[in-house]
C-alpha cells in the first residue's frame, strides 16, 4: 500500500519538476512546480469537443488507458513491503496490461480518421513493439539472478544475490528503465512533447483531438507512468532492507533525480531523426542482452 501512496505523491510533483528543470536550464523564470496539476484542473473544468468522425472507442480509450496504469500500480513493491497484489510473473501482467491501455490509445487515434492520428498511432505501436524485448530481457536477467519471478520477490532479494557485483546490474537496470520510461512516455530522444509540427509528433499527435476531461485523464496517466518507472528504478538501486524512513527520503530523491534527468535531456538534446529511432530502441535491447551475459558470467554459467 505504501508504494501506491508514494507513487501517487511522486506523480503529483513529477511533471512540475521536469518543467522547472527545463525553465531553469534555459534561463527562463518559468512556471511554478504545480502548474501541470493546475492545468489538469483547468482541463477538468472545460467542456469537450468531439470529432464527428470518432465513435465509441474514442470515448472510452482515455478511461481504459488510465485504468490500466492504475492497476499496474498495484503490483509495484516498495522496500520490504510487497506490493498490494503480488504473484509470480506479475511483471508479465504489468507489461501486457500497459499494452492494453496503449492498444486503446492507438485505436482512439485511428478513430478520428485524421491522417495525423494514423501517423502517431503507427509510430507509437511500432516503437513500443520494439521496446518490449528490452523489458523482458531485463526482467529475465533479474529473475535468473535472484531466482524469484515477481517484482516483490526480485527486488527484495536483489541485493542478497551477488553482493559484490550488484552495482553492475543496478546501474544497467537503472539505465534501461530510464530509457524504457522515456520511450513509453514519449519523451526525448525518441519523441519531443514540445514540437508544434504534427508531422514530427508521436504521442502528441495521437491525442490531438482529445479535449477537456479526456485529455486530463491522459495527462494523469502519463504522470503516473513516470512515477511507476521511477519506482522501478528506485527498487533496483536501493537495497530493500534499509531503514524505512531513509527509504522514503531516498525514494523521493530518486524520483526527483529521474525528473531532473528528463528535464536536462530535453533541454540539451535534440530529438532523433524519425528513422533513426528503431536503431536507438534496439540498442536498449542490446544493452539488456549485455546485462544478461554479465549475469551468465557472474553466476558461473559462462566460462
Amino acid at each position: 500500500m505504501m508504494s501506491f501512496v508514494l507513487i501517487l505523491i511522486a506523480a503529483f510533483f513529477f511533471p512540475g519538476i521536469i518543467l522547472r528543470t527545463k525553465s531553469i536550464s534555459s534561463g527562463r523564470k518559468g512556471q511554478g512546480i504545480l502548474q501541470p496539476i493546475k492545468d489538469i484542473g483547468v482541463l477538468m473544468r472545460k467542456g469537450s469537443v468531439f470529432s464527428k468522425t470518432s465513435g465509441r472507442i474514442f470515448q472510452i480509450a482515455p478511461v481504459v488507458a488510465l485504468s490500466s496504469v492504475l492497476c499496474v500500480l498495484l503490483v509495484i513493491p516498495f522496500a520490504t513491503q510487497s506490493a498490494v497484489i503480488s504473484f509470480e510473473g506479475d511483471f508479465v501482467f504489468f507489461a501486457y496490461l500497459l499494452a492494453f491501455g496503449k492498444f486503446f490509445t492507438i485505436l482512439s487515434a485511428l478513430d478520428t480518421g485524421s491522417s495525423f492520428g494514423g501517423m502517431g498511432a503507427n509510430r507509437e505501436a511500432f516503437f513500443s513493439m520494439l521496446v518490449e524485448p528490452a523489458f523482458f530481457i531485463l526482467l529475465a536477467t533479474f529473475a535468473m539472478l535472484t531466482g524469484y519471478t515477481s517484482f516483490s520477490g526480485i527486488f527484495s532479494h536483489f541485493f542478497l544475490a551477488g553482493t559484490h557485483y550488484v552495482l553492475i546490474y543496478s546501474i544497467i537496470g537503472f539505465y534501461i528503465f530510464v530509457q524504457i520510461a522515456m520511450i513509453e512516455n514519449s519523451r526525448l530522444p525518441v519523441d519531443d512533447p514540445r514540437t508544434h509540427l504534427e508531422l514530427t509528433m508521436i504521442h502528441e499527435v495521437m491525442i490531438l483531438d482529445n479535449s477537456g476531461f479526456d485529455k486530463a485523464l491522459i495527462h494523469i496517466g502519463t504522470y503516473l507512468k513516470f512515477a511507476i518507472y521511477g519506482a522501478l528504478m528506485y527498487n533496483v538501486i536501493v537495497p530493500a532492507g534499509w531503514n524505512i524512513f531513509l527509504q522514503i527520503v531516498l525514494f523521493l530523491t530518486v524520483q526527483v533525480v529521474f525528473a531532473v534527468i528528463i528535464g536536462l535531456t530535453e533541454s540539451f538534446r535534440a530529438r532523433n531523426k524519425m528513422n533513426k529511432n528503431p536503431k536507438f530502441i534496439l540498442t536498449i535491447s542490446a544493452i539488456a542482452w549485455i546485462a544478461f551475459v554479465v549475469i551468465l558470467i557472474l553466476t558461473d554459467k559462462l566460462i
Partner: protein, 664 residues
Amino acid sequence: MMNAILFLIILSLSFLVFFIPKSLKYYYTLFLLTSGIILTSLWCFGVLNGNNQQLNIQLYTSFFNRNFLLTIDSLSAFFIVVVNITVFIGFLYARGYLQPYYQSKNALRFSIHYFSYLWLYLSMIMVVMIRDGLSFLIVWELMALSSFLLVIFDAEDRTIMKTGISYLIQMHVGMFFILISFLIVDKATGQMSFDALRLYFASHSNFLLFILFFIGFGIKAGFILLHTWLPEAHPAAPSHVSGVMSGVMIKMGIYGILRVIMSVQNDLLLIGLIVLSISIASGVFGVMMAIVQHDLKRLLAYHSIENIGIIGIGIGLGVIGLATNNTALSLLGFSGGLLHVMNHSLFKSLLFFNAGSVYQATHTRNIEQLGGLMKKMPYTAIFFLIGSLAICGLPPFNGFISEYLIYMGMFKSLSAANLYQSIVILSSIVGLALIGGLAIFCFTKAFGIVFLGEPRSEKASKAKEVSRVMIFPQFITVAFIILIGLASVLFVKPVFNIVFQAFRLPDMTMVANSSVNNLAQISILSGIFVITIVILLVYRHFYLKTKQIDIGPTWGCGYTAGTSKQQYTATSYTYNYNHLAKPLLQTKKIMDDFRDDEIFPVKRTFESHSDDIIKKLLIDKPIDWFSSLLKKIAVMQTGQIQHYILYAFVYMLLVFLLTYFNLI
C-alpha cells in the same frame, strides 16, 4: 456397446442429407451435428472427470483385418471438447452466412457442403480417438477430402478451384510423410499404431522418426516452411469453414505431434530444441507476414501460423522440460500450449466469423477499401475487437492466460538452467515478447483501418449490420473468451491434469498449486481492472453531462475539406515497419517515375504487395522449374501418329534388349 451403435447411426444417417429437401438440409445437418456433439461430449466428461482413465468403444471387430477401436484418453477428450465447441458455433453461424447463396447454388451443392461439414467434424473426432495406424490414415484422409470439398464451395471462381487443388496436393504430401513414418514403425515392430510407437522408440533412433512425423503433422498444423497452403486456403474457403479450419482442423497436427511426443523416449532435448526453434520462427514470421497483408482473411491466416508458433513454443519447452527433468517447465509449457490450442480455436474462429460478416456486408476483403464500419456494424466491430485483444494476449482475455503459463514456465526455469538452456529460454522469452508486440501492431492496424475512421469506399459506406442469426452464435464464443480470461483457474486445473496424465509427469502438486494461486491473483487484478474501467466510465458519463459538449470536425491542421481518402491507409500504417523488415518481406512497388519533361503530373497508379518468400522458394520456384522441364519434354508430343509408333517401337526394342542382357 450402446455408444458404438449410436455413433454408427450418426455416421450412416449423414448420407441421408442428399435426400432431404433443400430448405430442411440445414436443420437436418444441425440435428446430426448436435447429436454427435452431445454423444462425444458425454464420453469426454466421463474421461475428464476421472471416472475412468480411458474409454474404449469398439466400432467393428474386424475392418480390413483391423481393429476399428475408438480410444478416448484425457488428451483426446480435451481435443474433442475444443472441436465440439468451435464446430457447433461455426455451423450456427453458417446459417446466416450461407443465406445469400441459396438462390445461386443448387441443392446438390448444399448437400455436398453440409455433408462435408459433417464429415469434417466426424473425421476430426475420429482422428483424435483412433490409435490404429491404418484406420488413422483413413480418417486423416477423410479430413483432408472433406475440408477440400468445403474450401471449393465457391468453385465457380477459377482461382478458388485452383487454390483448392493446391491445398489437396499439399495435404497429401503431409499424409505421405505420416504414411512413411507408420510404415517404418510397422516394419520394425510388426504393428502399425500409435501404441507401437513406444515399442519402436525403445530400440530405434527417436529423432529421425520424430522428424518424419513432425513434417507430416506440421504441414497440417502450418509450422513455418510447411505453411504454404495456409494463407491460400483460408481466404478461399467460406468464413465458417475458415473459422473451423483455422480454429480446430490445424490443431489436429498439434494433436498428432503431441501423441508422438508422448511415446518418445530419448533424444528429447534435441527434439525439444528443434520444435522450439521452428515454433519461434513460425511465430515471428507468421505475424511479420500478417502485418503486410491487405486481405483481411489472409491476414488472419498468417496469424494462425503465429499462434501455432506460440503453441509450439509451449510444446517445445515442455519437451525440453521432460529432457532435463524440469517438472515446472514441462507442466507449464505443455499446459500453456494446450490451453492455447483451446484459446486460439475460440478467438480465431470468432475473428474469421467477423471477417466473414464484413465480407458479406461489403463484398470485399481488401482492408484498404473498408473503414468506419464500427458505426454501421457495432456488434461485428465489438466482437472483432474482443477477438483482437484476445489474440494479442492481453489481459483480461483468454490469450493472456496461456501465454502467461508459457512465460512462467520459462521464467521459473531460468535460475536453475545451465548456460545453453538459459540462452534458449531467454531467446524464447524475447521471441514471445516480440510476437506479442508485433501482434498488437498488426491488430491495431486491422481493427483501426477496417472499423474506425471514415469509410474508404462506397462499398464500405453502404454496409449494414449482418443478420441476427450470424451475431447470436458469436456471443457464445465471446462468453468463453471472457470466462477463460477471468476465471482461468476453472480451465487451467483440468488442463494440468490432462498434461499430468498424458506425459506421466512426476509429482507436480507444488508447481500446479502455486500456478493456480497466481492465476487466482490475476483474476482478482483483472477484476479490479474491469471494475476501475466501469467506475471511471460511469463517472465520466455523469461528469460530462454537466459540461458543454460540442461536435466538430477532426483537426486537420486548419484544412477541413479533406476526403476519406486522405486517411491513413493500411499501407501507410505499416510503412515504418516495412522499412525495418525489408529483407524478409520483399515488398514490391509498382509505380512509374516522373519524367523530366512532365510539368503537370498526370494520373498515376501505385501498387505494392509483399510475397511470401518461403512459398516462393519452396513451392513456386520448383514448380516453375519442373513445368519448364516438362515443356521441354513436350517436344516429343508432335501429334503425328508415325512418331508415336516409333516411340512404341523404340520402347519395345529397349525392353527386349534389356531383358536379353539380363538387366531387368
